[in-house]
């Protein structure tokens, strides 16, 4: 608690120090100090209805069993994820540090499961020093980098997931005349709030063929990378084969070597980027235990002409899930050294993102997506235009037909389909409308079941923004999800009033509105109770007619680079995704205060 107060004190002091509109602080000749603070603090309120439903759906015949929504150590009724980052740069030199404080972590963030600390509070300090010259650079400390598309290596931070797998180590690169670019790095990766003992090392080489040939009309380049993971732990351990559910005993170290080759081409609005990656040795920690050696193909095609553009992406993954620390769980992709996110459109409307695609559980999948964009506008009346966007994505499993077989025959079963489009129309200076439609079909049951349980749904959204005058505006959003099975129909609405540039207020609600064919409400909880229990008494769901409203009210205040948002509401249990990586969010009711500040 003391630490928490101290932290809030520093935050407050920082806030008060912003007494003028300047963006950064000058220290010395040409030097620059930049500071950023971000905080998200939640207070979890008691919600009788959510608790009752939770008890019911997590039914345990043991009378002493105490239900709690979230596993892990006892939860406090407050959670706070805070980040303070300081950077100083002078000419080519920069140094910086970042303090992450989880006081304790917010619900639904995986790091809770990994934390090895006794205290509920947790933190992490990262730092770096680097020198950047015209053609070369060196960095020591926490390293964020990626090779190509990240199929074999990517270290990055995503605070929406409380994810950070930066390497503590060193990196150097050299660029020769734009012809050749060489990069080498080595370090120990971070896993949430702990530093693992495993070493990761690698190198990347890129050759710009077009620069060498003096061709300036387009780009042709060839690239290649190598990444290795050295497992420093030599103890014996057991892994569970996800398909057979049998324990496999393994001795000693698991070294992994991975390589990737890439080709980039660009000419007259046409782009082609291709990558092939391979895992060279057997990775016993693979989700797909019978595919020890992994490989991946990634092809990205693009075309644009004036205001029309199109892209198509294809990806095939087989056994490429590579963990930072194989001895720890990989829950929803947090324990990953490479970047293999789901390649579907990440929807911003809540009902369209209600049940997102999470990828094949085996990590073996094949599929892709297509995007088309077109903008139609009048040169004379710039404030009037149409914007069109259509997207299609589809993914199939790509598993061996027989378990533990060497056969090359693969089984492909569709597990995801999404066709969606949106039409945006700016009618005049004050009215703008957006219409959105999405057809989604997903395998609603366990993805690894032999036959599919398809759940199709149609989502409709209308979104209207009306600008009353230069400062006041009103936005209204209505959404409907139509489905015949699983949870049935949903409806959602949002009203937002903005007073630019400082204030914004919103109210929203979302609920499961239509009973399904058997007369019950297709509530998420109801579905789980059916699946998890053999007790016939539980089929009589006492809450089946209890409508759960997932409401939110909130307000935000912005002044220069300070932003404060306060909200209160009930949150649905579900999947929260950021950048194609998802985490599981438990249901809760509470208030949240989010603050960001930088200067």
């Amino acid at each position: 608690m003391k630490k928490f107060i101290l932290f809030l004190g520093v935050a407050l002091c920082a806030t008060l120090c912003v007494n003028e509109a300047s963006a950064q602080i000058k220290v010395g000749e040409e030097g620059r100090l930049s500071i950023a603070f971000e905080s998200s603090t939640s207070y979890y309120a008691k919600d009788k209805l959510l608790e009752d439903i939770g008890k019911y759906t997590n039914y345990n015949p043991d009378p002493d069993y105490e239900f709690s929504f979230v596993d892990g150590p006892d939860r406090s009724n407050i959670g706070s994820n805070d980040y303070l980052k300081l950077d100083y740069s002078w000419k080519g030199l920069s140094v910086g540090l970042q303090v992450d404080a989880y006081l304790p972590p917010l619900y639904g963030y995986d790091l809770y499961k990994y934390s090895q600390r006794d205290s509920k509070l947790s933190g992490f300090l990262s730092k770096y020093i680097q020198w950047e010259d015209k053609n070369w650079g060196v960095r020591v400390g926490d390293i964020y980098d990626q090779f190509g598309n990240g199929l074999i290596f990517r270290t990055y931070e995503d605070r929406n997931l409380a994810f950070n797998n930066s390497l503590a180590g060193a990196r150097a690169y050299y660029n020769f005349n734009n012809y050749v670019n060489v990069k080498v790095l080595a370090g120990m990766p971070r896993l949430y709030d702990i530093r693992t003992n495993n070493w990761v090392y690698g190198g990347d080489l890129s050759l710009s063929i077009s620069d060498m040939a003096g061709w300036n009309d387009g780009i042709v380049s060839l690239e290649g990378s190598y990444v290795g993971r050295y497992d420093s732990d030599i103890s014996e351990f057991n892994v569970i084969d996800w398909q057979t559910q049998q324990e496999i005993n393994t001795l000693g170290r698991q070294h992994i070597n991975m390589v990737s080759g890439r080709l980039n081409f660009e000419y007259m609005g046409i782009t082609l980027r291709g990558e092939y990656a391979a895992k060279l040795n057997n990775d016993l920690f693979n989700n797909a235990a019978n595919v020890g050696k992994g490989n991946a193909i990634y092809v990205d095609l693009g075309y644009n002409y004036k205001r029309f553009s199109a892209t198509a992406t294809f990806r095939r993954l087989e056994g490429m899930t590579t963990m930072i620390d194989p001895r720890k769980d990989n829950i929803f992709g947090g324990n990953l050294l490479n970047y293999i996110p789901v390649l579907t459109r990440q929807h911003t409307y809540s009902l369209a993102g209600l049940n997102p695609f999470m990828g094949a559980p085996s990590g073996n999948e094949i599929g892709g997506q297509i995007d088309l964009y077109y903008s139609l506008r009048n040169k004379k009346a710039r404030g009037k235009y149409w914007n069109f966007h259509a997207n299609f994505s589809m993914f199939n499993t790509y598993d061996h037909v027989a378990l533990n077989s060497d056969s090359d025959i693969r089984e492909g079963r569709n597990i995801w389909l999404d066709f969606n489009f949106d039409v945006e129309r700016q009618w005049n200076k004050s009215v703008k409308t957006t219409f959105f439609y999405s057809f989604q079909r997903r395998d609603s049951d366990q993805y690894d079941m032999p036959e599919a349980h398809y759940c199709p749904s149609h989502i409709f959204v209308a979104d209207v923004t009306y600008k009353v005058n230069k400062k006041h505006s009103l936005r209204f959003e209505a959404q409907y999800l139509a489905a015949n099975n699983y949870e049935g129909d949903w409806v959602a609405a949002t009203i937002e009033y903005n007073f630019a540039p400082m204030f914004s207020f919103y109210v929203s609600d979302m609920w499961n509105c239509e009973p399904m064919q058997d007369g019950s409400y297709g509530n998420y909880f109801y579905h789980y109770s059916m699946a998890n229990s053999n007790d016939p008494a539980l089929y009589e769901n006492p809450y089946k007619h209890e409508l759960l409203h997932y409401y939110q009210v909130g307000a935000s205040f912005t002044y220069n680079s300070l932003r404060v948002q306060l909200s209160y509401g009930r949150n649905r249990e579900g999947i929260v995704c950021s950048g194609g990586v998802c985490r599981k969010q438990p249901a809760f009711t509470g208030a949240n205060l989010a603050l960001t500040l930088s200067f």
């Binding site: 630490k3 002091c13 920082a14 120090c17 003028e20 300047s22 963006a23 950064q24 602080i25 000058k26 620059r32 100090l33 500071i35 950023a36 980040y83 300081l86 950077d87 950047e132 964020y144 990626q146 990240g150 990517r154 990055y156 780009i219 782009t271 693009g302 644009n304 004036k306 205001r307 029309f308 553009s309 199109a310 892209t311 992406t313 970047y339 996110p341 990440q346 911003t348 964009y373 903008s375 506008r377 710039r382 235009y385 700016q426 923004t465 600008k467 230069k470 006041h472 505006s473 936005r475 630019a500 540039p501 914004s504 935000s556 912005t558 220069n560 680079s561 932003r563 960001t596 930088s598």
Partner: protein, 160 residues
Amino acid sequence: MKKLLFLMVALFVGVSASAQMVPDVKLENQEGKVISTRNLVDGVPAIISFWSTTCKPCIMELNAINDNLYDWLEEAEFKVIAVSVDDARTLSRARAMTQGQGWDDYVCVYDKNQDFKRAMNVSLTPHTFIMDGKGNIVYSHSGYTPGSEQELFEKIKALK
């Protein structure tokens, strides 16, 4: 830990605030070639806006600036630099979107490893900066509400 925090407080109090240079970081341009942020400094003031394909208010802000662009350019000389922070997953979509949204008057750059985002200490998008012709950052604003683009234009006009 405590010492560190006190050091920071001391730094906050001890330094005076004034405009600062844009940091030197490598980015990709629309064609996919690597450029330095210093190449963006050419004597013309700029609105630098950090956006991503999954950030709706970012796209609303860039569209609002685009709607007013020609009217504003009659009153002041400036350019708009749209910095996409999309990673490998959505990079090609970001490139397509800049064309498909009609942002052809913008300077579009791609920060796929988010080095520029980290160097500018952007934690939340949209985050918009105003840079004068010499590369000094003179103003920053995070978040977007319809109409707040007007404030950016006022700041640009004040640079004269």
